[in-house]
Subunit: 223 residues, 2 copies
DNA sequence: CCATCCAAAATTGGTACCAATCTAGGAGAA
DNA sequence: TTCTCCTAGATTGGTACCAATTTTGGATGG
């Protein structure tokens, strides 16, 4: 047969490029729902996640729950014990330090490139994100604060032009901050964080790479 | 009731701390099997992985195959298209560069600590691993070489004392090297790599952190 | 009173089946 | 012939069921 490429009406289908996909209907993936409930402190460290409970809570089939739990286990957010089930991972102190160390290496490592690449628009954008975090201290929930913080750091990382880095860092952050966000930090610490966000933008604008690196290091270490 | 902690014969059960678990019977997980077949080039880039084929090939139930494919999709080694199946991810050039960049940041970032921590035993061990790689150039398969290389770098990272770093780097490596190992590199490049392994051990023994960093950077970039 | 043992209930996890969807290939019209 | 439409086959993916394992709570014996 000759016509190897007949033209047919091709239905383009969206592929899953995201890590945690959302259904096109706006129905969020069960993985994300469970993760949020862990981060919000609803499921504390060590809690057992029973499949039936999750099934009824999120209104999903057993299958989707099982898949979600397996994914969270791969990300080491929950732990799987055969024939016993899944429970929320207990973050070790040493482990948290190790992960912070990795984040420091990555988030400071890209700073030279970030300083080089940042445009005036980028800096405006970062300022907006820093402001958003600041305003949420008073009027937002802890979860919103947590996400605003993620957005700020994510935007900074994005400037490096390294598309893979974001997913790697996001994954790392998910691993530690599964500690209840409710008692994330004290109010004083949060306000200090907010100030540091603004300082970071200032240092970036001034092009002071070394001082920015040092600030990020302390910022992550105390977080 | 008063006795909150009654002593019963406790059956200790092994938990899954590894990323890709192997069953206690020595039956390897389907995820690992498929991954190896991808890395060995049996399933080339873009190939569709049909569930029935995998089922018969590995002698596993449909369920385990599905779980394995989902895990590989989470790791971005395969891509999932709804109602069409899973196919081997096509590695982008830019993406490979980005991942190499991340590896450089991490593997050079820990060098100060590695230099500080390394004992004479550690150095002997590294030499042995470098020798093993060298000897496999002649008598080993490409897959064995690939794994020996992983072992060498893994041992080096291990010296940093950062337990999390290994899993992060291992995951990164899996993402790029899903390109067929068969045509991994030319013979000349492999021999150069082997030489560099030895040089790295030498520099580590001499305590020359900066030169070691530079060598690792070029080593990763050309790999 | 306390530890041990046993049976019932609950939970996990695998297998089989079936509906929804897509692809391949042939029949029919221009 | 060449394009379009349609049916048959293949594949994916969800649901339901059931076996294996564990936990719970009470009965039994020291």
């Amino acid at each position: 047969m000759n016509r190897q490429f007949a033209f047919r009406p091709v239905k383009v289908k969206q592929m899953n490029t995201q890590l945690d996909d959302t259904a096109p209907d706006g129905e969020p993936d069960a993985t994300q729902l469970i993760l949020t409930d862990i981060q919000s402190g609803l499921f504390p460290q060590g809690a057992w996640l029973k499949q039936i409970d999750l099934e009824t809570r999120y209104g999903r089939g057993r299958n989707e729950i099982r898949r979600a739990l397996d994914r969270l286990a791969q990300k080491r957010i929950v732990e799987h014990v055969p024939n016993r089930g899944y429970h929320v991972y207990k973050a070790d102190g040493k482990q948290a330090d190790d992960i912070a160390e990795i984040r420091i290496m990555l988030e400071t490592g890209i700073i030279p490139k970030v300083v080089e690449m940042a445009t005036a628009d980028d800096i405006r954008n970062l300022r907006a994100l820093a402001n958003r975090f600041e305003s949420l201290i008073l009027h937002g929930t802890m979860l919103e604060l947590y996400e605003a913080n993620l957005n700020f750091h994510g935007a900074l990382v994005q400037l490096s032009g390294n598309g893979e880095l974001n997913s790697v860092i996001a994954e790392l952050r998910q691993r530690t901050s599964s500690a209840p966000v409710s008692q994330w930090r004290t109010r004083a610490r949060i306000e200090k964080s907010s100030q540091e966000h603004h300082q970071m933008v200032d240092l970036l604008e001034a092009g002071k790479a070394d001082k920015l690196k040092a600030l990020i290091e302390t910022h992550i270490r105390q977080g």
